[in-house]
Symmetry: C3
């Protein structure tokens, strides 16, 4: 608004004096008009006055009849705007002026298109998504409906500028667009928190825009499979939340099961989110800061892991001014065992999303989490593996990576021994990409073997090469898979050479075969394959060998791994019973009906195992029941 | 000194030629006077000559009668100082001049107020406290009596400038004050080490000023308690040394006991020092570089820890040009077991301060350390916990944090089961802050539980939230404490459910009850509570249950934890005897009279425990003796 | 080429129009000549045209008869080169011009001497050795025959410039030399990959120069010793490959045995390479980025280690655009056990060099590696220790460090109990440096002790002080060695006090003494000395005590360490036999004839040890056979 044109006419008797808002610029003032001013400097040749944060100039000594101190208020006339931009004023003595407030007339610029406004003063409205203190200025990262831009405010070297502004505040910012080392940055002139209606309007604008930009892509399922397709709306909701989290510059931390299916789930999501971050965030370090993936040692979210994750998140918040992260649990996170960890996070602003295919306990888990996709919630089961779901999830986030993922559901399914009918189609799909079934199985083995030696380091580049997701060298991928899977097989052979002669056999009353092996004493320790996998291998061989119902127990000093085929076990119930019956046994554990693991105190092993075998002897046979590897196993 | 005015008059027969010192500026020279000069460049139109590092100019070719090479010396007259600052000279031919040395007349600037001298050339005198080589210039951090400022000297890209200057040298530096990314920096023009008298004067000035600035604050004790107040002079000495260490830009590394009292001791000191560093150091990274806190796994300073600490310190020294650190031991460090680690540090410039309340061995320890506060040195005992002392220490360093610390001594005392009379007052003080006794006890549990899962990571942000020291969210603090202490209790219940049925009881000849439990075989391993704490819990229950004298032994394969109430044990003596009597038992260990732990070789457990029990059976009863948790326990 | 002078004369009928190559500068153009031009901007007052990447100017509107769009081609005359560098053109209408291509005439600058060309536009030809993406420009590190310089190319903030250029491409680059924070950098104007003949010429030039610069120094052996001197050509080849690797900016990763000889081998090589890197790379961080040393836990290259190393290398490649490293194995790497790790690396561009003195298996190893020095390949044996070889290797790389290394071969030899005749001379050499034999032995102990507590952290600064290689404080070195070796002796005494009473003795049929000790049950665990060293100490004492043939077995739950003196054992053969005879024993392991270690599954210990002793009882006596510590021992 130009007061010279638009201001109310005060008439000759009550002259109008304009009061510029703090963010007014010279374009809001006119020569010849009167303004309220404040003295901000006294020099030999006059006094300097401020009309707003950026409009100021000199009242020459020759025009002054009285002396002023800094802070004094007076009314001035804007006499002249010189060619070099300097302003000159004269003081005006008025008794009872009519004061008219002038708000700054401005266009709000968009962070996404500041590249064309280098050197200009711009107005931005958005949310503060990160506040990083440097040795010089404070850097406020401001996000609006079009992107994010760093804005440097300087108070004093190393001193936090605008301490009144917090992360997630909505602000109005005025500053000059600069190019710094080739990247855009705004040098802040003024920065104020929005309030009331203004805040609502801006929040609305950003929300609407984010919502729109967060919208996931429509994807055609890789294969026709109604069982999986019914989960699509839930997966789309997860995709939207993840995209939105990126747009809000909130970091994402993925915790996933450290096995084949877990990696088939997390690698596609990682690739999709990294591509999306690349597109939406200028800073090349954003990919690293906004996304972190970590395999979990245990098949659930342990107190140790959550304590460390929380500690790191708080450290990042304190040091880099980042938001607390969103936690995405993959192939993990649906069970009651995860609840203590979730409860620990509940005291902090850390949303949680879960995509899992382990038997869920939604009553226990759902109060703590913000999204939960699991086939059991649709009366489906583990056969829809997390890898299968997450390939579709990744495509919803960033569909361009589809070509890199066609073989992944087959690897996931084979790794987790999915008996889904759809496996045939998934394998055919992978074959059309040049993979035969044996090689797909080798990829699963190689993922397992690599993960074991990485000892819960994510090992991104190495694992990408194994799964051929985001890998740029097909030949290396093929060689690496062959090498690692061969090594895995050789090591397994060596392990079984040592263990097999010690496997004890007995025939249960039910006619089922029971095999027991002490994997602590009769297998190598601290090497591949670990106890759970060793037990599984023995079990599989015995099932093949006998063609009859088989139960296998691999036990160590304070744990036992259980596998069964063709026997109607109910491991969770057995654990409950054992805990009551064996006093001081400290029995706990879990798993599915026919596969799982239990823990107990070392000194009670004999009693616990004896009681366990007794229960197994009573179990009915049922040849439809087959064990898989998706149970919770002890394998650290 | 302006030679034109002050120089001796050489008379017409022996003209005076002035010899400017290297740091002289134009203000030390005058038109019309004669100067010794050195040719530094030969060009078509004349030669350039230097009078000092910064005074130089042209002798025009038209005035030259002979040719010169770079490095030649000659006498010149300063003919004119042009408006643009250029100087012109003419050569003067003099046979036997009287040479008068001219020192530069300057005012020494203060690093603390360079903000007003941006663009000016200044002189600084101070100590070099850090030398960091960058890919460009070498950065000398210069500290004087008012502060520290980085000074950039450039020799060649990535090449160490002024290799003759070492860390801790006193120097005279001339340079231009610049603002760089908003922070102040001095671009070095000349840099020389001070020597002799000059060095002494500057050292004196800095020492006096540092001494004054290091002076700790006078604080009123939180409660009236003469037993503690008599330690105040010693604590003030520690406070002064710590403040001075910060002012000298020497890093401080804290090692503390990883339990409740240890954290109640170290967190207040950390907060106080971080605030003090913030005030005295501009760089925001100073807080991180100058202060590091690490919990110790063992209750003493292990060879592994000291080796790693020393290695990191040497690495920081080599990479960042930092001084070696001062080591502050909290709730740890008073015993003979710490001596080997101290002896290792003795070969390096690493001062050591100790504040501890474990039974000290000053004869063994004091030769290695520079400050030692321990209640036993005043005929007091463990009841004055380290947390109680360190709250006062922290207030001496930075009194403004007093409001955040009033509840801490109570938590410390409850955690360490202090039977001090003053506990009543401490608890009342905490109650006035809104904490009831049960919640204070919960905070102790929560600290323990958090520390256990952090696995010896300091976990600053998380632990601050638990103790509510430097935490900004009261509600989160309360919720977090409730959550963690509940979890600790649940886990303890579960552990005792397993262990209790296996506790063996016998009645000693002395009528005391002896309880034994195999915490390796009848408790969960690698989880909370660990063996020592499990033993303590069992002991406490048995004391309550029987109301009579009780000894409890929790043993693992190669260790035993001992607790006793109402029995006159002398564990250190028993260890000495056992070591002699059980040949090849490798018995070692320690602790207090009635609480402690011993180690032995695995294969001799039966013999060691039998001999131990025999000794215990002979011990007299004495109902005043109560065990506490401050003994040295095995809990990793 | 100046077309005005050198171009073919097209005659009046067919005017010559010059077509400037993209990298042509104004020096390639002349006033009055005709040029092909492309419109790159349309403004009110005319159009701007490009003749090449850097030659452009205005065609004034007054000279235009028709309108142009961006991208239109036209022929122009260069009318004038103004004083300020601006060019003015007029359009020329020509039907059928004779076009003459003009290549840019330029001098190729040398990266090693850009310091004198700040502000100039230069041409560089070289290899891209690193590509680092920043938040602003992309930094290409370009290496030619004289050095390496960073070159900044800007596309868009954070966007990879010149995605068509890959690491290891040979390029032609035009840019302006700038000084940035004191370091040189080239701002890229154009960057193109060289192809065909041009590429060959440049590659040839670089190769020849690198080859020359990589040439190792001729060194006189420290002592006259033909056995070692015959290895010099092989060592020179290794030195050359290492120097060349540095010149090519490929990182070097050293993996070495974590014992005395291993450190005497790796520290000199580290010092030499760091000095060489310092001389050849400007960036001060180059020393850290281009060289990393890590001790190996096992006496061979484990799958876990190689997996981690590869993972880190791939991460450095992805994040910092570095080349994959060269792997240098020292005192390690010659045996079949290393092959799986090497096979894993074979899928990546990671050359491998080995300098070792353990019994090699060249048939298994050599297919995977690029250089192999081992005394056994010359019919010599372990007595030429790796430390002895590597001192000479280090001197070939950087001879100036010779004075710091004279005592090192003696330490290496004493550490590994070398019985070489040359030991006398090596010890004399060390004595001439002020070391007596006892102190040399203490240094070996101190290295061992320090390495143990560093837990496989390289601990550079600390270990340098112990070995006095790159240490700047002789007194500290002496004190530190005394302290650490004393501690090592004390700890060893304590360990043997516990273990000695449990040593079981029997007399074999062969009259040899057999000593057995359970180092898991009768020695402290997780402390110094570890099981293998404990066994060695016991063995040495028994050899001294008896003066007769002795075999010592130190066993734990799943391993046994073997030492023998005066008995003709063949441990590798015994392992092979045991593996066949003890079914399900999982026996594996290795070592030399008379020293080694074996592994087995825990539950079969009795059977394995009994069978082992039986075999030993049959072994013939042979007093010449002495055990040393260079066998592969279990010591983690």
């Amino acid at each position: 608004m130009n007061p010279a044109e638009d201001g109310p006419d005060g008439g000759p008797d009550t002259p109008v004096v304009y009061e510029l808002a703090a963010d007014c610029t010279l374009s809001d003032a006119s020569e010849g008009e009167l303004y309220h001013a404040v003295v901000n400097g006294v020099v030999d040749y006059g006094v300097f006055v401020d009309l707003s944060d950026s409009v100021s100039g000199l009242v020459h000594e020759s025009n002054l009849s009285t002396s002023y101190d800094v802070g004094d208020e007076l009314v001035v006339e804007l006499v002249e705007v010189r060619d070099n931009g300097d302003l000159s004023f004269t003081p005006v003595d008025i008794d009872d002026p009519e004061t008219v407030a002038v708000a700054h007339e401005y266009e709000v610029a968009e962070t996404g298109s500041l590249g064309e406004q280098v050197g200009d003063t711009v107005h931005l409205e958005g949310e503060v998504v990160q506040i990083k203190q440097t040795g010089g200025p404070t850097i406020f990262h401001v996000s609006d409906h079009t992107g994010v831009v760093p804005c440097a405010a300087f108070e004093e070297a190393g001193v936090r500028a605008h301490p009144e502004i917090d992360i997630e505040d909505l602000v109005h910012l005025v500053g000059v667009v600069e190019e710094r080392d080739g990247a855009l940055q705004v040098e802040v002139a003024s920065l104020t928190a929005l309030e009331g209606e203004e805040e609502d309007v801006v929040r609305d604008r950003i929300e609407t825009a984010l919502d729109e930009r967060a919208e996931p892509h429509d994807v055609e399922p890789l294969i026709e499979w109604p069982a999986l397709e019914q989960l699509f709306p839930d997966l789309e909701e997860i995709a939207k939340q993840l995209r939105r989290t990126v747009l809000e510059s909130r970091p994402i931390r993925v915790r996933h099961h450290a096995d084949g299916d877990g990696m088939c789930a997390s690698l596609p999501v990682e690739l999709a989110l990294r591509r999306f971050i690349e597109e939406t965030h200028q800073a090349p370090e954003a990919k690293r800061h906004l996304f972190k993936r970590l395999p979990s040692k245990a098949p659930f979210y342990e107190m140790e892991d959550v304590t460390r994750d929380l500690n790191f998140a708080l450290e990042d918040q304190a040091r880099h001014g980042q938001k607390l992260p969103l936690l995405l649990m993959l192939d993990n996170g649906s069970t009651e065992e995860d609840v203590p960890a979730y409860a620990n996070l509940a005291h902090y602003d850390i949303p949680i999303l879960v995509v899992d295919h382990h038997h869920p306990d939604p009553e226990a888990v759902d109060p703590y989490i913000d999204g939960h996709v699991n086939p059991y919630l649709y009366d489906e089961d583990y056969r829809i593996t997390t890898g299968m779901m997450c390939v579709e999830l990744a495509r919803m986030i960033w569909p361009d990576i589809t070509d890199e993922l066609r073989h992944v559901p087959a690897v996931a399914g084979i790794s987790d021994r999915s008996k889904a009918d759809a496996m045939t189609e998934y394998v055919e799909l992978a074959e059309s990409e040049g993979y035969d079934e044996e090689f797909l199985s080798d990829m699963g083995e190689a993922l397992d073997y690599g993960a074991f030696w990485l000892k819960y380091d994510p090992g991104r580049n190495l694992i990408n090469d194994v799964l051929n997701v985001g890998c740029d060298d097909e030949e290396r991928h093929r060689e690496l898979v062959s090498f690692l899977s061969n090594r895995a097989e050789e090591d397994t052979e060596q392990q079984l050479d040592a263990a097999m002669p010690h496997v004890k056999h007995e025939r249960l009353a039910s006619e089922a075969h029971l095999y027991r092996v002490d994997v602590e004493n009769h297998a190598y320790r601290f090497t591949y394959p670990p106890p759970g996998k060793t037990t599984g291998e023995i079990h599989d061989r015995k099932v093949k060998e006998t063609g009859e119902p088989v139960i296998t127990i691999g036990y160590g000093p304070d744990f036992a791994v259980l596998r069964s085929d063709g026997v109607r076990l109910d491991i969770p119930e057995m654990v409950t019973e054992l805990n009551e019956e064996v006093v001081g046994g400290g029995v706990s554990g879990g798993g599915h009906l026919v596969v799982g693991s239990i823990k107990f105190v070392k000194g009670m092993r004999e009693q616990v195992l004896d009681a366990l075998v007794e229960k197994m002897a009573d179990a009915e046979l049922d040849e439809d029941l087959q064990s898989t590897t998706v149970g919770h196993q002890q394998d650290d």
